[in-house]
């Protein structure tokens, strides 16, 4: 990341004492200073799932920092996009408003800024883990990351446009155009959610948003799945009704009630995917350990609820659970890093599973609810350790 390289270069000019003083001051300002990435070079890679359109996930062992570095952040494209020309780009705010807006990037940036550190997860993250198997991008664990997003509150944009009481949904449009007869990726979000904490972001972890992540601006919907986070955002249209079309009425639907795995739900049994589900993943676990000697496991946990209350681990298939230590660093809808000291009792192969509980009491299930599109997988994640005598 350019920022970190620049930061390192600047720090190289400081003596150690001044550096420590600065680092100490930074520690007193949680959220105000980005912690530089600490992913070693050997782990700085991506797992390309599709050559084109670009789909790439982050290996779990590179998801060990509070902020996911921009160049290690997963990429999900539906199609080969035509990136907007930033100089000609503008954001339109129209629909049920008194004064439609058309803002250049400069005009957008001149508005009061807001930031949110939160998780972005592709709705299909974990699809490959469902049985029976489902079509689609076969994501495993890494279509997720945590970043600090900076831009302008949707609330401020809608207020500036004079949004009317008749507006209940905000239709969102990006610049990417589908190939051939593929339906357009048009979406909508309930206006209450966007008024509460939606952001039109043009920065990611303090850097200008990259094209692959939706430059010059994308929608940020904290706590909600990535399908709502429209990239290459060009238009917000306040409307009384939700958006129509394939990507609202057929895709990105999740069952209202669990069913039988392998039996497709009918349209009226489904609802739109919105909030993320409570989930934790193990990012570090030693493959081998010795009986009686402690080892450390690490991971992250997040939810569609604003915070994680606890993460627990089991080594007996869920009969008993022990709490992990939660990292103090957190923001609403961001992930919590956790660590767990584990002392194996006896030699043999042991399976440790992690489960998270969120601030609303939502508990990560042993098995995710099978659904025909493979969305929002959140079953327990486990790691195997070979314990020697």
């Amino acid at each position: 990341m350019k920022n970190w390289a620049g930061l390192e270069a600047r720090l190289a000019g400081l003596d150690r004492r001044r550096f420590l003083l600065l680092a100490g001051a930074a520690a007193l300002l949680p959220g105000a200073v980005l912690s530089p990435g600490t992913i070693p070079a050997s782990k700085r890679r991506m797992l390309q799932v599709n050559g084109y359109p670009t789909d790439a996930e982050t290996p779990l062992d590179a998801l060990t920092t509070y902020l996911t570095e921009n160049d290690l952040f997963f990429v999900r494209h539906h199609w080969n996009p035509t990136y907007p020309n930033v100089r000609r780009w503008s954001l339109t705010v129209d629909g049920e408003v008194e004064r439609p807006l058309q803002l250049t990037l400069g005009e957008l940036k001149a508005m009061p800024r807001a930031s949110a550190t939160c998780v972005l997860q592709c709705a299909g993250n974990g699809r490959s883990l469902y049985k029976p198997i489902l079509p689609g991008v076969q994501w495993k664990y890494g279509a997720v990351g945590n970043a600090r997003w900076t831009g302008v509150r949707v609330r401020d944009l809608l207020n500036r446009a004079g949004v009317k009481a008749s507006a209940r949904h905000v239709h969102t449009f990006g610049s990417d155009k589908p190939p051939q007869k593929t339906p357009p990726f048009h979406r909508s979000v309930e206006i209450e959610k966007l008024l509460e904490d939606g952001i039109v972001a043009f920065e990611m972890n303090g850097e200008p948003l990259a094209s692959l992540h939706g430059a010059p601006a994308r929608l940020v919907v904290p706590g909600w799945a990535g399908d709502h986070w429209m990239k290459w955002l060009e238009r917000l249209s306040a409307q009384p009704e939700p958006q129509k079309g394939f990507y609202m009425e057929t895709a990105y639907k999740y069952p209202k009630q669990p069913g039988e795995p392998g039996i497709a739900f009918k349209p009226d049994e489904m609802r739109v995917v919105t909030e993320l589900f409570v989930k934790s993943n193990i990012t570090e676990a030693p493959p081998r350990a010795k009986a009686g000697e402690a080892v450390t496991l690490r991971g992250f946990a997040f939810s569609g609820a604003p915070d994680i209350a606890k993460v627990e681990l089991t080594d007996d298939g869920g009969q008993t659970w022990s709490p992990a230590a939660l990292d103090p660093q957190h923001d609403p809808y961001a992930w919590r890093l956790w660590s767990f000291r584990y002392t194996p009792r006896a030699a043999g192969r042991v399976t440790l599973a992690a489960r998270a509980t969120d601030s609303r009491g939502g508990e990560q299930p042993k098995q995710a609810v099978w659904n025909q599109s493979g969305y929002l997988h959140n079953g327990w994640h486990s790691a195997e350790i070979e314990v020697g005598a």
Binding site: A9, A41, R44, V75, K181
Partner: protein, 137 residues
Amino acid sequence: MRGGRIGIPLALLLAFLVFLPGGSDAASKKPKKRAKAKETPVNFDKTLPVLGTKLAELPPGEGKAVADQACLNCHSADMVRQQRLTEKQWTAEVTKMTGWGAEVPDSKRDALLAYLVKNFGPDNDRFEPVATRPVGR
């Protein structure tokens, strides 16, 4: 030739400004750029391919030509190779994709389906994601 007369003094003036010790912006910027390039460490494995440059191919067989033509306009072969679908699921996918514009002549549809079912059925283990450099590197 007239331009040449003006050009020589201009060139001399530029040369003077460029080589003036501690002088113009041009003179002070150049070494800084070089120094910055040296300081930026390559913190990833340079032998890894750039994201999006290493593409999978569809395996040989009857039906490959029609699959290449029908599928690869919109996505790389990776998307096909990673699927592990039953005949019923592949039939639904082909119907969806032809509806979205994939070119599958009626006379080739059965051959395409047979090819997809044979190569990318539930026991397909052909696919491994490609480890690449970090995004944009």
